[in-house]
Structures are given as C-alpha cells and as structure tokens.
Symmetry: C2
Subunit: 213 residues, 2 copies
C-alpha cells in the first residue's frame, strides 16, 4: 500500500490543488490533465501519472471534476484536518507567517509562540501569548503541537531543533540557513532563501556569460 512517493510528485500535487482552487473560483466544473498541466508548468502525462499513484479520479473522455479532485488532493496531502503549529522564534519571518491568512485557511493553526527575547515574552499575537524560550518543551506538549516552524538565528538552530524533537514534535519547517542533523523519523523541510538567491545568481551569471560569448 505504502508506495514510495517522490518529493517532486508531492510538490506538484500541492500546485495542482492551487490550480483547482483557482478553477473553483472561476466556476469551472471539470478540467483536463492538459489544462492542469498548463497551469502548473508541467505536462499532461505527468499530471495523470502523479494522480494515478493514488487512484483513479477522472472520467475518460471528460476529465476531472474540479471539486472532487480538489477534495481528493486535500485528503491525500493530509489537509483534511487541523495541524497544530508552534512558532519558535517570533521575528520577522514568524510574523510574516502569522499574518498570512492562507495559513489558517489551509488548516495550519498557530497555537503556540516561543521567543528568547524578554521584551517579546508576554506580548500577544492575536490570542496567543508569547512564551519564553525556557518553557519551549512545556509549551509544545501543552499545546499538542504537530509542526514547529523554526525561525531562530542560524547558530541557535541545531540546539533548539533538538529540544523540539526531544519534546515529541516530528514535523519541522526550518528557516535557519543551516543544515540540521536530526533523527530519521523527523520530517524536516528547509526554506533556505540564500540557496534560492544563489541559484538565481548562478543562472544570471551564466546567462550574461553566454550572452557575451
């Protein structure tokens, strides 16, 4: 049952869902793999292959029913539930996430915020009170956190991550620009802006080189 699903497939599923949400807004009832491919920057065959890993969702000759496929994708992606999220580090990135309305709408609810800065501790974001770093483990357990968003300075990241894992949280979204070494059972995703910028720099540098030559 539990086939191995590649990272890239999952990313595409997420993009398909985004397209389907747009299509719902536009009032479309059905959609073809062709159309989904166009909107997701991939190919029709890829769309069908990705979906076929999880079942048969379409009607031959017709395409996919937008609302049904969206529902199936939400279920596949585990979005048919509320994920309880902790913000570890209440800096700019944390606040950007906190204010992002799409966050809650997609089932991610911020239930705990922790920060090391005494100035911030005790202040409220919405109805969540910021707690001090030393209460991290307690806060994670009390709030039954599923996912921790790690937005602390690079040098502190490894240590804080280990404490989070030790407190029983198995999902981490890491914004610190360092490679975390954690047990295999932990699900870790990195958002590394420096890597993206450097990839951009590489591509642009090559481009101008080629342009000159």
């Amino acid at each position: 049952m539990s086939r191995k699903i590649s990272e890239s497939t999952v990313r595409r599923l997420s993009l398909y869902l985004r397209s389907l949400e747009t299509l719902e807004g536009e009032g479309s009832v059905t959609v073809s793999s062709e159309e989904l491919a166009r909107r997701g920057a991939t190919t029709a065959a890829q769309v069908r292959k990705d979906l076929s890993l999880f079942g048969s969702f379409g009607k031959r000759g017709l395409g996919y029913t937008v609302s049904e496929l969206a529902g199936s994708l939400r279920e596949i992606l585990g979005l048919d539930r509320i994920w309880r999220v902790a913000l570890v580090g209440a800096g700019r990135i944390g606040s950007a996430l906190f204010e992002y309305e799409g966050f809650l709408r997609r089932g991610f609810r911020i239930v705990t915020i922790v920060d090391a800065d005494p100035e911030k501790v005790g202040t409220r974001w919405g109805d969540v009170v910021i707690r001090p770093d030393r209460e991290l483990e307690e806060a994670l357990r009390e709030s039954e956190v599923d996912i921790a968003v790690l937005a602390v300075p690079g040098p502190a990241a490894q240590e804080v991550a280990e404490r989070i894992v030790a407190a029983g949280v198995l999902g981490l979204l890491n914004f610190a620009p360092v490679h975390l070494r954690l047990p295999d059972e932990v699900v870790l995703k990195d958002v590394n802006l420096v890597v993206e910028l450097e990839a951009l720099s590489f591509a642009l540098a090559r481009r101008s080189e080629a342009g000159e030559g």
Copy 2:
C-alpha cells in the same frame, strides 16, 4: 563549454559553500569530500561529481583547501560581484529580507523598494526611500536593478511580474503563492511556503497512517 547544470547540483553547491564558510570559521585548512558530504546531507561521490563539472579543485590524497574551494564556488555561483536587488512589496516578507544581514554579506544589495500602500511611500528603510507602485519601472531602471524580489499579494503578482520584466529585469525571486507565466529568458525562482507546509503535512499524515497500520 556551457554544459547543462542541473538545478539540484546548483543547490548543493550553495550548501557546500555554506559548509565551507563554517569550516573557515572553525579554522580548518583542508576538507575531504567525505566531510563535505556529511555536512551537506549527501554522499562523497556526489560532492566530487558536482565539483568535477566545473574543474579539478582538490589534491589527491589530501582533499580540498577550504579557502580555495570557497573562492571557486563563489565565482561559479556568480557571487564575486554585487547584485542590485529591488524589493517589490514592502510587507513582512520584504522587511524580513531587508533585515537579514546575510543578504548583504553575500553580495545582494537592496537598492530600491516599491510599495502600493500610500502610507508606506516616502518612508525610509535604512537609506532607501520607499517609492510608489506607479514609479516601479522608473525605479528599476534608475537603480540598475538585476534581481527583483516579488513580495506582493497573489492576485497582483502576475501583473507586477510582467511590468518588472518589461522594465528589463531578468531575475525574479517570487514569494507570491501563484505560478507566474513569464518569457523563457527570465530566471524565476519560487519560494512557496504553502507547498513546503503541504509537503510536511503529506509526510506526517503518511507517517501516522503507517504507524497505525
């Protein structure tokens, strides 16, 4: 000369550079592919293969000289120059980037900020004055911008991106959770937090399923 370099290779090069910077801080003089692999969550063979695409940087039996390899990687990644960056959208994400010191240190200098909010226009971030949306094209050209960071709301993103490209900027880092359709000559990188979170959700949902089964 201009071989095709895969996206994943470039991402790894960026991570190697990060490891090398750490090693420099720790005072290491040489490093093996083995050690770089450990720090970058990959294999020694992969490290050597990646580097071999660009030349021979190591000494057999010894490894790589940390400072030399770091220098070579910076050159390969196009980091041996200053990239002039525009912030389009001065919201939370923009301010997070602006305050991130690693940004400038790695050669990305924010030279222009544009926002549609009249309240923000005219205020200063550092020594950059925020300019109104209608002056976008002018600002990009005057400041000779290489890279635009697009941090505007999803619905506005496509239109603003097209204006940026029309103004001659060929590098875009997009934070809006939409798929932008732009000419092929544009280098576009997406940072999509929703995709990362959903990938996390997927992995966690599967994990608990498997755990129960």
